[in-house]
């Protein structure tokens, strides 16, 4: 099921502000001030969100020591999405295989019944 390291990713993605930050970073790196601009919340609050995203490995800091731009890290996001998609697919796949098996069992049963006659 969900690998343990994805817990932090899912927790980080559970918040709408953090998802908006990621959406912004998907268009290119940005400084904390730039990231805070579209939101009605304080810069320290944004910094807190950034820390969560950073701990989850979803973003990293650029080299520019002055601006310290944040940028998106694609890999954990891709892993999380993949898992999300696979969960439902996993059960749908199971049940489709079960459908096929049940069809087979029904056919066998019919054959048995008709040979008996």
């Amino acid at each position: 099921m969900a690998p343990r390291h994805l817990d932090a990713t899912f927790a980080a993605l559970a918040d709408p502000t953090r998802r908006a930050i990621l959406a912004r970073l998907a268009t290119g790196e940005a400084s904390v001030t730039e990231l805070a601009a579209p939101f009605k919340i304080s810069q320290p609050a944004i910094s807190k969100h950034l820390k969560v995203l950073e701990r989850a490995g979803l973003i990293s800091r650029g080299r520019d020591a002055q601006r310290r731009p944040r940028r998106l890290e694609a890999k954990p996001l891709a892993e999380a999405t993949e898992w999300l998609e696979r969960y439902r697919e996993y059960w749908e796949g199971n049940y489709q295989r079960l459908d096929a098996l049940l069809e087979e069992l029904k056919t066998k049963k019919t054959k048995r019944t008709s040979t008996r006659r």
Binding site: A23, W83, Y87, L102
Partner: protein, 170 residues
């Protein structure tokens, strides 16, 4: 048309209570058959978790109250995923109740699985309800794509991802 017939093949996921998560699916077969497919190793091996390179390395079921079940799947790279539990209730072909624990747990504590089989017009509705130790744990599991609230964040995520190749082709 009765709704059961209409719903054949459609997986439904719901939250019957604060601590529960339920999956419902209708199968075009009598319930004794579905019950067997749910409890007999030779049949389980044909459908549960076997896809791609994943097959059962261990599939043991001691179908009696207090009896244990143990499943281990193995993938092509040697990766293994195991889980198991103890049967608490068996009413053939209506219902099974068992505990569930993963070797590498992705949620806290034990969960209780109740699976019911209801037959109508030759079709069987199988419902598996998982009861978690607390609402918090259930909610953590719900952060998975299993319900629509998360489908929303998934949509958002899809948007984010769609934008990525534009700049990270490195």
């Amino acid at each position: 048309m009765n709704s059961q017939v209409k719903d054949v093949g459609k997986l439904q996921i719901s939250t019957p209570s604060d601590r529960e998560l339920a999956m419902t699916r209708v199968f075009d077969a009598p319930r004794s058959m579905v019950f067997d497919a749910w409890t007999k190793p030779e049949l389980l091996k044909r459908w549960l978790g076997v896809f791609g390179s994943w097959t059962f390395a261990v599939c043991e079921v001691d179908l009696r109250v207090g009896g244990k079940y143990r499943f281990v799947w193995r993938g092509k790279d040697g990766n293994e995923m195991g889980m198991g539990g103890v049967y608490r209730e068996i009413v053939r072909p209506e219902r099974t109740v068992s505990t569930e624990k993963f070797d590498d747990p992705w949620y806290e504590g034990d969960a209780i699985d109740t699976t019911t089989f209801a037959e109508r017009g030759g079709k069987t509705t199988m419902t598996t309800t998982v009861l978690y130790e607390s609402k918090e744990i259930r909610d953590a599991v719900l952060k998975s794509p299993m319900e629509s609230g998360v489908a929303k964040s998934y949509d958002k995520l899809a948007e984010v991802l769609a934008a990525i190749p534009a700049r990270s082709g490195k």
